[in-house]
């Protein structure tokens, strides 16, 4: 029996594609209209030349990178240790790492402001540096579900028990084992979690705004109120940025430790040598 042409599926796929692509196309076109009567990249130039843009995106980039580093330092040893020595408390760790999905950012930051306010036992929110730290910790918490999942998946595909025993029999200390044996083996998983963290925290608005930080998210909102064409340009850039983050995340998630970056290319080369 020959299959008939799938009319309905094609129609649904086309409609969805239209819904996905029209806003992108419209935003792109809109972003080109800044100078009257012609299409130009003036809005992009205007954004990239603005010093507030540079300042805020630098701030947010640093904050995101700090969050990635701190998150990695907390989560990788924990995931390793739990798998190796305390498998029975795994559900607890997993539960805690999923909690941020239940706590919306607005609630989390509300708690921060009250607990770490200027007249509390640990007045982090009282100083600029302390507030920066709170922002970074907030990002660590928000990315914890994804980071933990990525790292834990990464550890499930390597044999950490054997690796640890091998390292120990060669005389490596605990910390050395984690830093030089386990870490490199889950690098791909960490990077995959890191890019997701990056895409979440770079344009994050709620925490940054309520903690009063000069970050990229609040700048975006302000720009949206003041300007017409620059926001469209930024939306396009943000989409491209998200795409890049997701592509890199995928790349690192799929790549196994020690495998080549471009498998197909290497197979071809191999065949040539064989012939």
């Amino acid at each position: 029996m020959k299959k008939p042409f799938p009319i309905m599926p094609t129609l649904i796929a086309l409609m969805s594609a239209l819904y996905f692509l029209v806003p992108l196309y419209a935003t792109f076109l809109f972003s080109l209209k800044m100078t009257r009567g012609e299409y130009s990249f003036a809005s992009y130039r205007s954004v990239l030349n603005s010093s507030i843009f540079i300042d805020t995106i630098t701030f947010s980039t640093i904050a995101s990178l700090c969050a990635i580093v701190i998150g990695t330092v907390i989560i990788v040893p924990t995931a390793y240790w739990v798998r190796l020595k305390l498998p029975h408390i795994r559900p607890v760790i997993e539960f805690i790492s999923l909690l941020p999905l239940v706590v919306p950012p607005v609630v989390l930051v509300f708690g921060y402001i009250r607990v770490f306010g200027s007249n509390s036992w640990l007045p982090l929110a009282g100083s600029d540096q302390g507030t920066n730290l709170l922002l970074v910790f907030g990002y660590v918490v928000m990315s914890m579900p994804y980071m933990f999942r990525a790292v834990d998946n990464g550890m499930s595909v390597i044999d950490i028990k054997t690796l640890t025993e091998a390292a120990e029999s060669l005389g490596a200390s605990r910390i050395r084992t984690i830093a030089f044996v386990i870490f490199p083996n889950v690098r791909g998983a960490i990077m995959s979690g890191a890019f997701l963290t990056f895409s979440i925290s770079l344009g994050e608005f709620v925490l940054a705004s309520l903690l009063n930080r000069p970050a990229f998210g609040p700048y975006l909102v302000q720009l949206g109120q003041d300007r017409a064409y620059e926001p469209a340009a930024l939306a396009i850039m943000a989409f491209a940025f998200t795409w890049a983050c997701m592509a890199l995340m995928q790349l690192f998630a799929v790549k196994k430790p020690g495998s080549r970056w471009f498998p197909r290319l290497s197979i071809k080369l191999y065949k040539k040598v064989e012939a």
């Binding site: 419209a26 999905l101 708690g111 907030g138 949206g224 939306a235 943000a238």
Partner: protein, 306 residues
């Protein structure tokens, strides 16, 4: 997997010959490895949330009271919660339905492989494209001067704002914008379930004389139902916690719960800090219920995906 993971531990437990005193010390040291994680979680996740929760049951002097919880019943707060729930429900419903349709079309509809690949890749990006930039994209598309708005006016002579009463900054406008990340999220999450529908089931049903409709009604849908409901709840929670998109689109004029809380933190608009805690508690409870149900349903759904 949990069987394998617990094996070595039990082996250690039963095979241990060292005196119990030494064993105790060893156990203590073992726990040391997870202290940083627990400390961090206690200080920057559980502590602050617990603080809000206890605050919800205290008055400004710190005495125990149910007054804040009772005050959640006041008209404006009930209205906020209802609006939030309604918006999340509608956007999750539309998202789940359209995501399911797209999933069925792309995965089961006999379309070429590259279509599936393209939608998967795009969905991975779009489901993470939320917040302020998404709001900007929709303003450029369906705002008063948006491309589609202008196109409708110039081509068909319809002003969607004046003639149809549409505005992006309303309930349905927001639901339409949310769909941009809800639809791809649903599509991504329902795909494994659709892949799990085995061809044998369909063949078996057809051999037994089932019609297409009977197959869906009696076999496919019951198997898919836990997945669909679970994904719906996740979409619901996803929309319920969304603040940035709504804030960038409507400022603070659209009183959903996150916006009320945002305003409260900014300037104590509820004139009672402890009432703010109660609102936060309400949010956490709703998010908690939908996420717990989601995880339960997911566990149920995974039975079929082995």
């Amino acid at each position: 997997m949990s069987f394998n993971a617990t094996m070595p531990y039990e082996a250690v437990q039963t095979g241990h010959t060292t005196p119990p005193k030494k064993n105790l010390v060893k156990l203590d040291l073992k726990w040391l490895g997870v202290v940083p994680f627990f400390l961090f979680a206690a200080m920057f996740l559980i502590g602050p949330v617990l603080y809000l929760i206890t605050g919800a049951f205290q008055n400004t002097d710190g005495d125990f009271t149910f007054a804040n919880i009772a005050a959640l019943g006041s008209d404006n707060i009930v209205a906020s919660f209802l609006l939030s729930i309604k918006l999340s429900f509608v956007s999750a419903f539309i998202g789940a339905l359209s995501g399911l349709l797209l999933g069925c079309a792309v995965i089961l509809g006999g379309l070429p492989k590259w279509v599936r690949h393209a939608f998967m890749t795009f969905s991975g990006v779009a489901s993470n494209f939320a917040g302020v930039p998404l709001a900007f994209a929709f303003i450029a598309t369906l705002g008063r001067l948006g491309l589609v708005t202008i196109l409708m006016r110039d081509l068909f002579g319809i002003n969607i704002y004046n003639d149809l009463g549409f505005t992006l900054f309303s309930f349905f406008g927001l639901a339409l914008a949310y769909l941009y990340f809800q639809l791809p999220l649903m599509f991504l999450m329902i795909t494994p379930a659709l892949d799990g529908l085995k061809a044998e089931w369909r063949e078996a049903a057809e051999t037994l004389g089932a019609t297409r409709r009977q197959y869906w009604q009696l076999v496919a849908l019951p198997v898919l139902m836990p997945s669909i409901l679970g994904c719906f709840l996740l979409l619901f929670a996803n929309a319920f916690g969304t603040l940035a998109t709504i804030y960038a689109l409507t400022g603070s004029s659209f009183d959903v719960v996150p916006i009320v809380l945002f305003q409260q933190i900014r300037g104590n608009v509820l004139y009672n800090p402890n009432l703010g805690y109660a609102v936060a508690l309400g949010m956490v409870i709703i998010m908690g219920i939908s996420n717990t149900l989601y995880l339960t349903l997911r566990a149920r759904a995974e039975r079929w995906q082995k």
